[in-house]
């Protein structure tokens, strides 16, 4: 049985050092929820508070309506997958998977039957009598997952489970993880610093920085309408350009330093006044114009052909370096040194206040706002 996880005003301190000051969060039943952030942002700390391996200095943690703050980790009924897998090296694959079931003192046949089911599910049946040291990283990962799931936990917690794998296995295993989670439908909290991995597996992602959640949302929302500059730069690649917002004849105009300007029709009413802004333009949100001299003037420094797309690295007159991604064309790649003009897909770009604290564009959804009031 899955649960929803509710965290209200969590505080974590190590001595005088406060890691998490006030954090609230709501994870839905059956959801694949990811804590994403740079190292040291507190994501693993938060996960371990949910698991019960870190003490909780303040706030309340709930699984459904049960407060778990003081519940023994062994009683929380969580399945956990560790960064180093933490496979018991002195037990065979089968014994590892059966370990949690044995602790529940279930009848022998049931243990056998459940163990078999999960060995099969994770496709590691053939290794059942092997010792862990004889397994590859990917296989160990599968054992760790089978072991965590075998106890039919209410919550599955995963702490950077793919970081010890090589790139190809990482992609393969994240598909496996996603599939298994879909099949079982268990509430899952996943920690990673890899935004691509987070996008690939998650229903929703909480982007964390310096112990605070910046934004909670679906991968699509985070990518297209980031709530602030940090989220915009952390999720995907983007170019940050200085700009000015001006109200001219009732129209809201965005001016770039080079003189290029375009009308914005999706600025929130309360931000419609003259101000300096930071513009976040993703590489694919730029339109290259070689004929009409309309747009931001730039010179091509390098062109990299990657098959589906071609990446251009350019610099503007102001010295800004900008990256552009274009779908590869059949005719030719634009030569290095060519003078080009860049226009923006204005419905896609994001505009932040001068300090990058908030997005001026309509359509930002931040689930965090749902519980900051409560």
């Amino acid at each position: 049985m899955s649960v929803n996880i509710k965290i209200n005003h969590a505080v974590k301190r190590y001595g005088d050092n406060t890691i998490i000051t006030d954090l609230s969060l709501n994870i839905k039943e059956g959801e694949f929820f990811t804590l994403l952030g740079p190292s040291g942002c507190g994501k693993t700390t938060l996960l371990r508070m949910i698991a019960g391996f870190n003490s909780i200095e303040g706030g309340d943690f709930y699984f459904n309506d049960t407060r778990i703050n003081d519940m023994d980790p062994a009683k929380r009924n969580i399945g956990m997958v560790f960064q180093n897998y933490a496979i018991f090296p002195n037990m065979t694959v089968e014994k590892n998977v059966a370990y949690g079931l044995k602790n529940r003192k279930l009848p022998k046949e049931e243990i056998k039957e459940t163990t078999d089911r999960f060995l099969k599910l994770m496709k590691i049946e053939e290794y059942r009598s092997r010792m862990p040291e004889k397994l590859s990283g990917g296989q160990q990962q599968r054992v760790a997952l089978a072991r965590a799931l075998a106890i039919t936990p209410n919550v599955l917690l995963m702490d950077e489970p793919l970081s010890n794998l090589d790139a190809k296995l990482r992609v393969e295993m994240r598909t496996v993880i996603k599939e298994i989670q879909n099949t079982i439908g268990i509430t899952t909290v996943y920690v990673t610093h890899d935004q691509e991995e987070a996008m690939a597996v998650s229903d929703r992602i909480a982007v964390m920085n310096l112990g605070d959640i910046q934004q909670i949302g679906t991968p699509k929302v985070l990518y297209q309408r980031p709530t602030n500059l940090f989220v915009a730069t952390f999720i995907g690649r983007t170019n940050i350009v200085d700009g000015k917002l001006k109200i001219e004849d009732g129209k809201t105009m965005l001016h770039f330093p080079s003189g290029y300007a375009c009308e914005m029709d999706n600025i929130l009413d309360e931000y419609k006044y003259d101000q300096k802004v930071k513009v976040s333009i993703r590489p694919e949100e730029l339109v290259v114009d070689t004929k009409n001299k309309e747009g931001i003037k730039a010179i091509i420094d390098d062109a990299v052909f990657l098959g589906l797309n071609t990446h251009y690295f350019v610099h503007t007159d102001d010295g800004d370096k900008i990256e552009i991604i274009q779908e590869s064309k059949i005719d030719s790649i634009i030569e290095k040194g060519t003078e080009i003009y860049l226009q923006v897909k204005k419905e896609k770009i994001n505009i932040f206040d001068e300090n990058g604290q908030y997005n001026l564009v309509k359509g930002v959804i931040n689930d965090l706002d749902l519980y900051t009031g409560d």
């Binding site: 003081d70 519940m71 560790f82 933490a86 602790n103 072991r147 965590a148 106890i151 917690l157």
Partner: protein
């Protein structure tokens, strides 16, 4: 919530029990020692120390000990490091056997080596006599300084070998390949890359060897003759003062602790300059040897190991010689064994009884203490950690003397019992086992235990069911070493034993000192066989032919 608190309390109780044991069996005897040394009839006095340092005879014993120990240590490094290097780098003929012999050598009691060398090279030793008969030439005397040096160096270089070859195994092959790439090979690579890489181990081995050489008491007693070393002085001071004024013995003990403490602190200081860790993904591969190099290297290895093993072989040989009274006569017999069993039926069972009891306590306590220190660091456990290091710096005979002083009066009279022997052995051995358990435990990630807990195991179950089995290999190898040092222990036991608690080692020593070499050889052989069996057992259980400390 209640469950959590209950667990917490159990470990708290364990901490306090362990602390109490340290206070009773270690700190109280040491305090007693200090009181005896500094107080006479309730008055503070340094008379005993003045007495010690004002006599040239006593002062000389310290410099003698330092001189012979440093030189012996140097020799062990000179012999042991190249041996370990050759062993790990090249295919030596019969390398398995070579290693087993080296381990055996490291495990035998030093004084057995001493008395065997006396039989070989002494005034009427077989080699001495043979050379004299053949050439008319008398080889130099091996008594005194030279003899002690010879015995200690040959006895202790196997330790250096075991330490260093363990460290060499941790060097990643790619480091060697990288240096080869940059044009550094052979001796140059050995000196500029390998030696610095294993420096921490060399320092640890140096200290270990020096401490053992410094504290060794059987060797100088047998072969030293006029060359007085410090441990012998302690022993004499204690026995000549028994019953009357124990102040002097206590004072000498304090001086001994001070000296070893200084050496220990010095080593800690030096070691702190060389801290880095290595973990080999690919160990060094042994290369085949060719030509003259093959002959020389094989010769070096087997000659050195042979020399170290010779005394044991010779002792075993003499145990089968026919004896007449105290003299060996022509022909072979089992008389020595017959006499050995008749005279001291207690020695063998005592050895096992005392040894196993001490071993069991050492292992159990070491695991508990390692857990407290590594996983539950708090004020009390930090004190336990510090206390657990103290026996490192207390020479064996001092442990014996302190225990006698503390436990020969009511309310707790233990002198002359099996218990005091067990306690003494536990005190002497436990720091080593604790260190190795702590090191092993630190390498086991906490997440393994957390995984078990998240799967519904209690903290106790997670520790004893998962972590302890993972430590098993480390514990087992440590246990075998402990076992062997326990059964060959002499310097503490000789102060504590009586007829009821005599052990094999003590029996050998007693008969050697009475000049009854036949029976002594028989006991020594039994001891050696017990050692070999322990070693084989270890290799069988641990499924390895590699032994590490």
């Amino acid at each position: 919530m209640t469950k959590k608190n209950k667990n917490f309390d159990i470990w708290k109780v364990v901490s306090i029990v362990v602390l109490a044991m340290y206070l009773l069996f270690l700190m109280w005897p040491l305090l007693k020692l200090f009181l005896q040394a500094f107080f006479k009839q309730g008055q503070f006095t340094i008379e005993q120390f003045v007495n010690f340092f004002s006599q040239r005879y006593y002062r000389k014993s310290i410099t003698n000990s330092l001189k012979v120990s440093s030189l012996a240590t140097l020799l062990t490094l000179v012999i042991g490091i190249p041996l370990a290097y050759f062993y790990q780098m090249y295919e030596i003929k019969g390398k398995g056997l070579l290693q087993v012999i080296i381990i055996l050598c490291s495990m035998s009691a030093p004084f057995i080596g001493a008395y065997s060398w006396i039989m070989l090279l002494g005034r009427s030793g077989v080699i001495t006599v043979a050379i004299k008969n053949l050439t008319g030439f008398t080889i130099p005397d091996i008594y005194g300084f030279n003899g002690i040096l010879l015995v200690l160096a040959l006895q202790l270089f196997p330790l250096v070998f075991l330490y260093v070859s363990g460290a060499l195994k941790n060097i990643d092959n790619s480091l060697l390949e990288a240096s080869e790439n940059m044009g550094c090979t052979g001796t140059k690579r050995f000196l500029t890359l390998i030696i610095p890489l294993i420096m921490p181990t060399i320092i640890a081995a140096t200290l270990m060897v020096f401490m053992r050489a410094f504290a060794d008491f059987g060797t100088p007693l047998l072969i030293g003759e006029g060359y007085q070393t410090f441990p012998v002085v302690i022993y004499n001071a204690y026995f000549s003062e028994t019953g009357s004024d124990r102040g002097f013995g206590a004072a000498v003990s304090i001086i001994a602790i001070a000296i070893t403490a200084i050496i220990f602190l010095f080593q800690r200081y030096v070691n702190s300059k060389f801290t880095f860790t290595m973990n080999a993904m690919n160990s060094i591969e042994r290369k085949p040897l060719k030509g003259i190099k093959a002959v020389l290297i094989n010769l070096y290895c087997w000659f050195m190991v042979g020399l170290a093993f010779l005394p044991q072989v010779y002792v075993i040989y003499t145990s089968f010689l026919k004896t007449s009274g105290k003299l060996f006569v022509k022909g072979y017999s089992l008389d020595s064994y017959r006499l050995a069993f008749r005279n001291l039926r207690r020695a063998v069972p005592n050895t096992f009884k005392i040894g196993l009891a001490a071993l069991a306590i050492v292992i159990f306590l070491a695991i508990i203490i390692a857990y407290l220190v590594v996983r539950r660091s708090n004020f009390v456990n930090k004190i336990i950690d510090t206390l657990s290091m103290i026996p490192y710096i207390i020479p064996g005979s001092v442990v014996g003397i302190a225990l006698v002083m503390a436990f020969s009066k009511k309310p707790l009279v233990l002198t002359g019992t099996v218990a005091i022997m067990v306690i003494a052995l536990v005190i002497r051995r436990i720091p080593y086992t604790i260190r190795s358990s702590v090191a092993t435990l630190q390498q086991i990630p906490l997440s393994i235990e957390e995984a078990a807990i998240s799967l519904g195991a209690t903290k106790m179950k997670a520790f004893f069911g998962i972590t302890v089995p993972m430590m098993a290999n480390g514990i087992l190898s440590g246990a075998i070493m402990s076992w062997v040092t326990i059964i060959t222990e002499l310097s503490t036991a000789i102060i504590l034993y009586n007829l009821r608690t005599v052990t094999l080692t003590l029996a050998v020593y007693t008969y050697v000192s009475r000049g009854n070499y036949g029976i002594a050889a028989a006991y020594a052989t039994i001891l050696t066989v017990a050692t070999i069996l322990s070693l084989l057992l270890y290799m069988f259980i641990a499924k390895t032919d590699e032994v590490s400390f």
